[in-house]
Symmetry: C2
Subunit: 196 residues, 2 copies
C-alpha cells in the first residue's frame, strides 16, 4: 500500500472513531485497530492525536467546501446559487455520515486550534451565504430589510441542525430532496400563508 493510501486510511478510520466516540474518548489504539495498523504507525503519518483531528477537518471538510464554492461561482442567479449551496451541503452531510458527525461535534470544541480553523476556513464558507444574499438584494430579489450578517448564521445553523437528523437516527427519515426543498422554501418564502 502506498504511503498516501495509508495516510488516507488512517484519516478515514479516525473520522469513523471520532464520530462514534468523540475526540477525547477516542483512543489512538482504537484508530490504529480500525485502520489495521500498529499504534506507532499512526505517528509516522501524524504528529499527535490532535493533528489527526485537525487533518480530518482540514482535508475532508476542505474538499467539500472547495467543491461547493466552485459550483456556486459558476452561477450568477442568487436563487440558483442558494439552491446549489443547500443541496450540496446537505448531500455531503448525508453521504458521509461519519464526517458529518465529526463536524457536528468537534467543530464546536473550545480548543484554540479548532476555533482557529472554524474562524478561518469556516467563516469563509458561511460568508458565501451573506454574499449571495447581498447580491440578491442588489438585484431587488431579496428584501432589503434582511441583515446578511444575521441571516447567514440563521441559514447555516438551520442547515447544520437539519442535517443532524441523518446522523442521529438510523431510520431513513427525511429524504435529501424533500429536506433541500423544505429549507429553501422556508427561507425564501417564509411560513406565512399568502392569498394570491
Amino acid at each position: 500500500m502506498k504511503s498516501v493510501e495509508k495516510h488516507n486510511k488512517i484519516l478515514v478510520s479516525a473520522t469513523k472513531v471520532f464520530a462514534k466516540k468523540g475526540f477525547f474518548n477516542a483512543r489512538i489504539s482504537d484508530i490504529a485497530k480500525e485502520a489495521k495498523v500498529a499504534d506507532g504507525t499512526i505517528y509516522l503519518y501524524f504528529n499527535n492525536k490532535f493533528d489527526i483531528l485537525i487533518s480530518v477537518l482540514e482535508e475532508e471538510i476542505g474538499k467539500i467546501i472547495e467543491q461547493i464554492q466552485k459550483a456556486i461561482k459558476k452561477e450568477t442567479d442568487p436563487h440558483k446559487m442558494l439552491t446549489i449551496f443547500v443541496h450540496k451541503h446537505l448531500a455531503a452531510m448525508k453521504q458521509n455520515k461519519n464526517l458529518a458527525e465529526v463536524i457536528h461535534i468537534e467543530l464546536r470544541q473550545s480548543d484554540k486550534l479548532v476555533k482557529e480553523y472554524r474562524n478561518k476556513t469556516f467563516k469563509q464558507y458561511i460568508d458565501l451565504i451573506s454574499e449571495i444574499i447581498r447580491l440578491g438584494q442588489e438585484q431587488h430579489i431579496y428584501r432589503k430589510e434582511i441583515m446578511p450578517g444575521i441571516a447567514k448564521r440563521a441559514f447555516f445553523g438551520a442547515l447544520d441542525e437539519v442535517s443532524r437528523v441523518w446522523t442521529e437516527t438510523s431510520t431513513s427519515s427525511y429524504s435529501l430532496e424533500e429536506t433541500t426543498e423544505q429549507v429553501l422554501s422556508l427561507f425564501l418564502f417564509g411560513m406565512i400563508e399568502r392569498r394570491d
Copy 2:
C-alpha cells in the same frame, strides 16, 4: 455559607470553566479554584466530574426551558408564541454567556448520558416549535406545505447559531432586539421581496 449556596457556587464555577475550556480540558482543580473550595469539597456535592456537567445541563438549562414553556402556554396566537420563543431563548443566551457556551459545545457531545439528556428534555423543547407551527397551519396562518418536523430543526438551528455570535465575539455586535426581529422576520416572511 449554606449547603445549597455552595452547591450552586460550584455549579456556576463549573459552568464558567466548562465554557472556557470545554468539559474534557476542564480540571476538577480548576473548578475548585474558581469556586474557592478544595478539590475534595466538590465530591461532597457531586458524585463525579460528569455528574457536574449533567447537573449544569439539568439545573441551569432546565430553568430556562421551563420558563419559556410556561410563558408560551399562556398564549394562543402562533405568531405571539413564536415571538416569545425567539425572544426568551435569545435573551437567555445573551444574558448567561457561560451557559450559552456550554450549551453550544457540550450538548453536542457524543457521550451516551449527554445524548440521553438531549433526547429527553431537549427534544421536548424543540417540539414546542413544531407544535406551534402545526397550530398555525390549522388556523391557516402558516403554509400547509411546511413540514413541521423539518422546520422545527431549521428554526432551532438558526437560533442556536445566531446566538453564538454573542459568545464568540467580545464586541457588542448585534442587539437582542434586532436579532429577534431579524430571525422572526426571516422565518415568517422569507427572503423574497414582494410587490404589494
